[in-house]
């Protein structure tokens, strides 16, 4: 991370970046659909937004940011050839991901126990669809991180060759990035 020579390509495999762009496009369309649909149902959206748990969303945002930070440290560790450290940072990141899943799961449990589903109203339709789509991405990101972590533990990466770590990291940061917009948009802006 010397920052003197600029690279031509982003870190990790270029193919993951094409995938990231595709994913961002889907989320972008979803966000815009939420925002524009809201203009026709402002009162409905404002009313039901109040039923969401902002504290849970705070914990989840903190979890994802922290997790992302840990992944940054994991990449830094492998860049100085420290596989063990890399593995430990990735484990910490995975733990934070797990925390996200647990908190989000508790939120879903709360909503579902009140009989709320996709057909309840347009707000809940968007809330459940958007967050659940993101939820699935957290799971996918964790699977990727787990695969990277296991390979790191067995010494599969080095300072010279660690594209896999950067690839997994880039995807995980994307999952974090999307939540940075989702959190204020769905939970806070009114």
């Amino acid at each position: 991370m010397t920052g003197m020579e600029k690279n031509r390509w982003p870190p990790g495999d270029l193919v993951i970046w094409i995938f990231i762009m595709a994913e961002l496009l889907v989320f972008g369309v979803f966000f815009a659909a939420y925002a524009f649909t809201r203009t026709n149902h402002v009162e409905l959206f404002n009313t039901y937004q109040l039923t969401l748990d902002r504290n849970a969303a705070l914990i989840n945002t903190v979890a994802l940011i922290t997790s992302s930070y840990f992944v940054v440290r994991a990449v830094a560790a492998i860049r100085v050839d420290d596989s063990r450290r890399c593995f430990h940072w990735l484990l910490a990141a995975l733990a934070m991901g797990l925390l996200f899943l647990v908190v989000k799961g508790a939120e879903y449990h709360h909503h579902f126990s009140q009989g709320i589903n996709l057909n309840t109203n347009t707000f809940y339709m968007f809330y459940l669809s958007l967050t659940f789509f993101h939820f699935l991405h957290v799971i996918l990101g964790m699977i990727i991180l787990l695969a990277v972590a296991l390979k790191a533990r067995s010494g599969g990466y080095s300072a010279a060759e660690h594209t896999g770590v950067e690839t997994g990291a880039s995807y995980w940061h994307m999952v974090d990035l999307v939540w940075m917009v989702l959190f204020p948009l769905v939970y806070v802006m009114r």
Binding site: A32, A35, R38, L50, T66, Y69, P184, Y187, M189
Partner: protein, 90 residues
């Protein structure tokens, strides 16, 4: 790594900033603060956070050319669309 380090790694500074902005957003949320000022403030924070993640976590700051701007372009597009939609209703 013979660069000078200001007490903490750059990514750690970014982390602290992200947390700080998150807490403000949460504060706006739990107090149900509404209206253009607060809504666009938290949206602005979100876009800033996104850019920080792109630049420092994803490492795009070290990249030259079009790839340097992929996250920025996405944030700009999404931010614009959300702003247009919310502006009419606030």
């Amino acid at each position: 790594m013979n660069q000078k380090r200001l007490f903490l790694r750059p990514c750690t500074w970014v982390y602290v900033t992200l947390m700080f902005l998150t807490f403000i957003t949460w504060f706006v949320g739990v107090n149900n603060l509404s209206g253009r000022f607060f809504a666009f403030m938290v949206l602005g924070f979100a876009l800033l956070k996104g850019q920080l993640i792109g630049d420092y976590f994803m490492g795009l700051k070290q990249v030259a050319g079009l790839w340097r701007w992929v996250i920025f372009i996405w944030l700009a597009l999404v931010g614009t669309l959300i702003s247009v939609a919310f502006w009419q209703t606030l």
